[in-house]
Every structure is written in structure tokens, then in C-alpha cells.
């Protein structure tokens, strides 16, 4: 499980053994070696790496002075390229194929009833439940009103964001990060009581900022997705919504108006219109029709669902926590920074978005940083108060 720690142990032993160890240390080393074949393998790997590093660093062009100023500018340089000799991706190439000709949302307004999605973050279950009920009331009201009026009300202006031929990333004032796929648009309406985003066209990935006082409601046609620190992706087309949960949890509810519920019970024999339709966890996807039917529920191919997202993550003088979060739009295993000092450390650079390992390795190369790979997340913490981060 904790490969990294073992590797660091082996590296430490390797350096100790090159350094005229005393008899006691040698004895401890032997004990360590005998503990597991893994230790033997890792130690030999270190010896190999030691040799390889001599050869690999020989190619380094920078002089000692240059290296020193590089180290002095610690936060300024993280130049990354995946693979060797691959050309740098140009912004125009980021446009995924087919993004232009995909037919995006028409006729969503014909939807006969609403479905509701509500997400729940695990750490604050009780509150999430309370929100669910509050939002349920709101959703019913909204659906009834929708029979006569267009909704959301055009009287509320809001701010419209639209993406051109490239993916557009918008960070809202509540720290919510939305990535709009090419040719997509959303309208944002925030006030002191609620945060609302309407996805009017196309696809978007939402990473919802936390603000317990103002629940977040994302609407897609007649369907509503409620707040909550999850990361999910919604694609709107022809009144249906494809919801892919990248991390966290989302519950999809069916909440038609009472009139429609009765009509539907007669027609389809569905007894309880308030049934929870489906629970989605990180890595799952479901397609919900305009009439609230779940037509596809299964494992998501997150890479496909998010294929329109940019191939790289570029940032300048940005905190480690923010950069980690940017990766979380892509991966079902979110990166969590658990140390405030590390979280606030500012860095600049370019990473390949689909290769979080490079970023993990980078953070891991900072002193005192500990990386734990858990099944549902990757956690960064520090081993003790880091004074030289």
C-alpha cells in the first residue's frame, strides 16, 4: 500500500550505507533488509537508481550558479512535459474532436416534469439532509410554476458566461470552479440566500465551492442538481441530462408535480413518484430523460465524459490547494491537501491534466511532505511542522 514510504526508507538506507555506517547502523540495516523481500527489491532498485542518476544528471546543462538561483526561485519554475520529445500542445488542439458538431440542448423546455439531483458530502450528512428537504419544497414549487411560466424567470438578469471554441474556466466569487465546454453557456445568479447556475447550453464540469449558508442549485432544463462539495459533469442535450459524478456522491430524485405524479401513476403504475431514482458515487454516470427516467446507470468512463476538458493545467503563482483542486475535475480519486501551510504554498507551472501522478510526485518531492494513497482519495500532509517548504 504505502510504496512511497518503503521507497523513501530504502533511499535513506542506501545513503546511510554509502556514508561509513557504524556497526549498530549496519545491524539495523540488516534487520530492515530481512524484514521482507520487498525491502531487498527496493534497496536494489535504489542502487540501480543511484547509478542511473549519475548518468542522467550528467546531461544537465545548468551550472552550479544557475542551479542555485533555480533553487532560490523555488516557487517559480515547474516546467513539465509528458514523455520525451513530444510537441507541446497548442491551445487550439485542445478542442476535442466532435465538440463543434455535437447537437446541444434543444427542446428542454418541453419536459413534462422535473427531476432533482441532490448531492451529499459525507462529512456533513445531517446538514445535507436538511438541505435536501428545503430544496425539495423549492423544486416542487418551481415545477408547478413551470406549467405556465418559463423558468428560471427571465426577470432575474444574472451573468451569462459563454465559451467560444475553447474550454472556458470560470471561478465564481464563492470559489466554485466551472469549466464550460466549447460552445456552452451558463447563467449565474447569486444573491445572499442562494446560488443558482443555469446551464443553458452544452456541457460543464462543476466543482462546487462550499458555502453552507447559500445552497447551490444547478439547473439543466427542468432538472435540478443541488449543491454540495462534489465534482460532477453535466451534459445537456435534447432535454435529457447526462450526469457523471467524478468524486463525491449525488442522489437523483424524481420529483414531479402532484398532478403529474397521479397521471403517471395511472399510466405507468409507478407508485411512488418520490422514489430516489439512483445514487451515483464517484466514477458513476446516469442519463436522465426529460421525463425523469433513468435510462443508463453504470460505471462512467470519466476520461470520455470529461474529454472536452483541457489537456493541461496551467497556473501561475497559485496555491497548491487550488492546483490540486483543478486536477479533481479529471480524477475519481481527488487530491486532498491536509496541511494549511502546504495548501497555501504558491507554485507556477504546467501539468498534464490527466497525469495527476506528475503533480503528486512533484508535491511529494517537497521536504516533509507525506502522500497517502487511499482508495477514495490521495492525501497530502506534512510529517511535522515544515519550516522550509
Amino acid at each position: 500500500m504505502n510504496d512511497r514510504r518503503l521507497t523513501e526508507e530504502a533511499a535513506t538506507w542506501y545513503l546511510d550505507m554509502q556514508d561509513a555506517p557504524d556497526a549498530r547502523m549496519e545491524a539495523q540495516f540488516m534487520v530492515w533488509l530481512r524484514r521482507s523481500p520487498q525491502h531487498v527489491a527496493e534497496y536494489m532498485a535504489m542502487a540501480q537508481m543511484h547509478g542511473d542518476l549519475r548518468a542522467a544528471t550528467a546531461a544537465e546543462q545548468m551550472s552550479i550558479d544557475e542551479l542555485r538561483s533555480l533553487a532560490g526561485s523555488e516557487s517559480a519554475v515547474v516546467a513539465l512535459h509528458r514523455g520525451v520529445g513530444r510537441e507541446h500542445p497548442s491551445p487550439l488542439k485542445r478542442l476535442p474532436q466532435g465538440a463543434m458538431d455535437a447537437p446541444y440542448g434543444k427542446g428542454a423546455m418541453d419536459a413534462p416534469c422535473g427531476s432533482r439531483f441532490s448531492g451529499e458530502t459525507r462529512p456533513r450528512k445531517p446538514r445535507a439532509k436538511a438541505l435536501t428537504w428545503a430544496a425539495a419544497a423549492a423544486a416542487v414549487l418551481v415545477v408547478c410554476g413551470a406549467l405556465t411560466a418559463t423558468w428560471p424567470s427571465p426577470a432575474e438578469p444574472g451573468i451569462r458566461y459563454a465559451a467560444g471554441i475553447d474550454v472556458r474556466e470560470v471561478t465564481l466569487d464563492d470559489d466554485t470552479v466551472v469549466q464550460l465546454s466549447p460552445q456552452s453557456a451558463m447563467v449565474v445568479r447569486f444573491d445572499t440566500a442562494a446560488r443558482r447556475i443555469e446551464l443553458v447550453e452544452g456541457s460543464a464540469s462543476f466543482d462546487i465551492g462550499k458555502d453552507p449558508a447559500r445552497p447551490m442549485k444547478v439547473t439543466v432544463g427542468r432538472q435540478q442538481i443541488d449543491d454540495v462539495g462534489t465534482v460532477f459533469d453535466v451534459q445537456r442535450s435534447d432535454g435529457a441530462a447526462q450526469v457523471t459524478v467524478v468524486s463525491g456522491q449525488v442522489s437523483v430524485w424524481n420529483l414531479p408535480s402532484p398532478w403529474l405524479a397521479r397521471a403517471r401513476a395511472r399510466l405507468t403504475g409507478t407508485p411512488s413518484p418520490r422514489d430516489r431514482l439512483v445514487d451515483l458515487r464517484g466514477g458513476e454516470t446516469a442519463r436522465v430523460d426529460a421525463d425523469g427516467h433513468v435510462t443508463g446507470h453504470g460505471q462512467a468512463n470519466v476520461a470520455v465524459a470529461t474529454q472536452w476538458l483541457p489537456e493541461d493545467i496551467r497556473f501561475h503563482d497559485t496555491s497548491v490547494a487550488e492546483v490540486a483542486r483543478r486536477f479533481n475535475a479529471y480524477s475519481t480519486r481527488p487530491l486532498v491537501v491536509d496541511d494549511p501551510e502546504l495548501a497555501g504554498k504558491r507554485i507556477s507551472g504546467v501539468f498534464h491534466a490527466r497525469d495527476p501522478e506528475a503533480f503528486i510526485a512533484y508535491v511529494d518531492s517537497l521536504p516533509h511532505v507525506r502522500v497517502e494513497r487511499m482508495t477514495d482519495r490521495v492525501r497530502f500532509s506534512t510529517t511535522h511542522r515544515a519550516t522550509q517548504l
Partner: protein
């Protein structure tokens, strides 16, 4: 099992250890899986007198001696280019010689990848690694260059070694 580790061997192994380890861990066209070799080395380490682990002087040289002996036995078993008597140096020389054309390409590729990985390290970590491995500076000298303690220098090297090791493991 040769429990004796003459000083000359120890010195030789300190230099050749990486080559030997390289042989062990590469998966290129060797009949024995590296896993098997490691497992066998481990078993021999365990068998080598459980009384007190402290009995072995210079355990690193011992480890590599066990490994080299194993390689030698293996080579003899294979009956190809049998190795004369006790020539450990010969074993190692042989190991250092690429046995097929692909080895050069493979090695060049590994180095390139490693250089890429080094480029991804944090600037301090990278500077420390290069100064240590390319310029052969001591911890203290590196610490003076970068205004950090020798202890921190060592930590950076550990971090760098581990990052490179794990980065390379993903390629294999």
C-alpha cells in the same frame, strides 16, 4: 555461501552495486524473472545465520555478494559462457556488457525518462540531486550553496531518489 566479504570486494561492490542491481531489476530478455532473483536473495539472507543480524559486517557488500553469487550460479546453470572460477569482477563486467542491441536503446530511453523526471522535481530537490550526482558535492557543500542544512540536503536526495524510482516504476 560465502560469508566472508573481503575488503577488496566491498570496495568493488560499492562501485559495481548499481550495475548488479541493474541486472537484477531489468526485465529485458533474462530467463529469470527479477522477482525470482530477489526472492532467492532474500531467502539466502534469511538463511545466512539467524543468530544475530549484527554478525554480518558491511551488510551492503554482503547483500551484493549474495546477489553476485546467485547470478554466477545462474549463469553456470544456463551453461552459456560459463564463468571461470571465482571471478566476481568478471561476472560484473559481463553484466555491464549489453547482451543485445536493444539494451543500448533501452538504456538511452531510461536516461531520457529519468532526465524528464528530474526536471519535474521541485527546483531545490532538482538542484540538490544534480549537485550531488553530477558535481559530486558533499552534503555540506550543497548545503552551503543553497543555504540549507546538511540534513535537509540528505532529505532532498531521499525525496529525489524516491520520486525517480517511483516515476520509473510506472514506465516499466
Amino acid at each position: 555461501m560465502s560469508a566472508e566479504t573481503p575488503q577488496s570486494w566491498a570496495r568493488l561492490l560499492a562501485d559495481k552495486g548499481p550495475t548488479l542491481a541493474n541486472y537484477f531489476l531489468r526485465r529485458v530478455s533474462h530467463r529469470w524473472d527479477a522477482q525470482d532473483l530477489v526472492q532467492e536473495v532474500y531467502l539466502r539472507l534469511l538463511r545466512s545465520g539467524d543468530a544475530s543480524a549484527g554478525a554480518v559486517r558491511n551488510p551492503e557488500a554482503y547483500l551484493f555478494t549474495v546477489a553476485a553469487n546467485l547470478v554466477k550460479e545462474h549463469a553456470q546453470m544456463q551453461q552459456r559462457a560459463p564463468i571461470s572460477s571465482e571471478g566476481l569482477e568478471e561476472v560484473i563486467e559481463r553484466l555491464a556488457t549489453p547482451c543485445h542491441a536493444g539494451a543500448d536503446v533501452d538504456r538511452a530511453l531510461r536516461r531520457q525518462r529519468l532526465a524528464t523526471l528530474i526536471g519535474r522535481l521541485s527546483p531545490k530537490c532538482r538542484a540538490v540531486l544534480v549537485m550531488h550526482y553530477r558535481d559530486d558535492l558533499s552534503y555540506r557543500e550543497i548545503g552551503e550553496q543553497l543555504s540549507i542544512s546538511s540534513n535537509m540536503v540528505k532529505k532532498y536526495i531521499v525525496k529525489g531518489l524516491a520520486a525517480c524510482r517511483q516515476g520509473m516504476a510506472r514506465y516499466e
